[in-house]
Symmetry: C2
Subunit: 232 residues, 2 copies
Amino acid sequence: MTLSASPTAADRATVVIYSGGMDSFTVLHRARREGLAIHALSFDYGQRHARELEVAARVCQRLGVPHQVVDIRAIHGLIDASALTDASREMPEGDYGEANLKDTVVPNRNMILLSLAIAKAVNIGAGRVDYGAHGGDHMLYPDCRPEFVERMNAVAGIANFEPVTIHAPYLRSTKAQILAEGLAMGLDYADTWTCYRGEALACGRCGSCRERLAAFAANGACDPLPYAVEVA
Amino acid sequence: MTLSASPTAADRATVVIYSGGMDSFTVLHRARREGLAIHALSFDYGQRHARELEVAARVCQRLGVPHQVVDIRAIHGLIDASALTDASREMPEGDYGEANLKDTVVPNRNMILLSLAIAKAVNIGAGRVDYGAHGGDHMLYPDCRPEFVERMNAVAGIANFEPVTIHAPYLRSTKAQILAEGLAMGLDYADTWTCYRGEALACGRCGSCRERLAAFAANGACDPLPYAVEVA
């Protein structure tokens, strides 16, 4: 699909923030089914789970979706207080609680990623950015709340000569609900990566793995990913 | 000045977005006079006028202000449609008009820079980001308008566990008014860089140089910078 010069070209193109995880994988496929021209954007911010970036590249190549990995590791000095980017810090295990959450928060991450995705949208004439923020257990993260996306949208509408709309279809969904929608679309979640540890096999113990496994359990489905430990 | 653990530590520290140009130079000194602990942040986004970054580093070193240059050149692929970052494009000359403006706009630049500065503020426990957006002739840039800063502030207040306030003291000032305030503070504008061309001497012809020279003329002052051409 190519962009035409018609007045609605911007309405027919979107930049999808695609991490390689379950949520953005589902968002990517959802936007594709809308018939939009998609430009997928992944960010390498020095995360320990860089495996998800490889998975993202492979999926986009297979789908024929243009994909760009933006190396923003140089901003590490700005966000050096998170266990997600600092290998010397211990990765919290177990379910998400507020203490764990604060340890895995990268300061202002979603505002940074959305700002860059909006820049890309403006640059290629796309009128939309798709992003997989979701509610559920993550409502504790300030920048996963509906209010955050609403306020970002208020900025995105006026920050450039052309407005950009942030589309977060799962803002009020749980991970189990997102997975239910993806399974109904026939998606294969072997093509996603979730574990924060980023080793050869998913650890099954970090908060991220547990949340994923709980979503599969809630759907009565088996996770197709291999795990380092036996999971229910 | 060091940060104490008192409840108001965040109120006493700010991250100043400091490009090395006249406006942010004045903002930096203004925040210093407020007695705030300052962390200065400059961005290397591949601008052709990288001279301003050298000037910024020199000023901070002399003032004893911590200064960090964040290399965000890797995001060049997102913003490759601007004459400011693409050496193969012709730099527009003459006064700013809407056509020239659009040629020198880096998509979504101010949202990107503010997002990163807010991340730094959260990371070091500062409650404020200072930023030299100003009105005047620049009101044509969407992200220099008061409405943009107001909406960014609405986001910055809720995007992280701790709120950050964007402080843009010159949002409703012209460049001549900013310069007037700086001259009254006794600042030496030889310590700033403005020319978009970034050669050994300021060109005196690009929109940025002309605007600077007009601000000096409006104040009945002489610009201490040497120019490549004779300027009035």
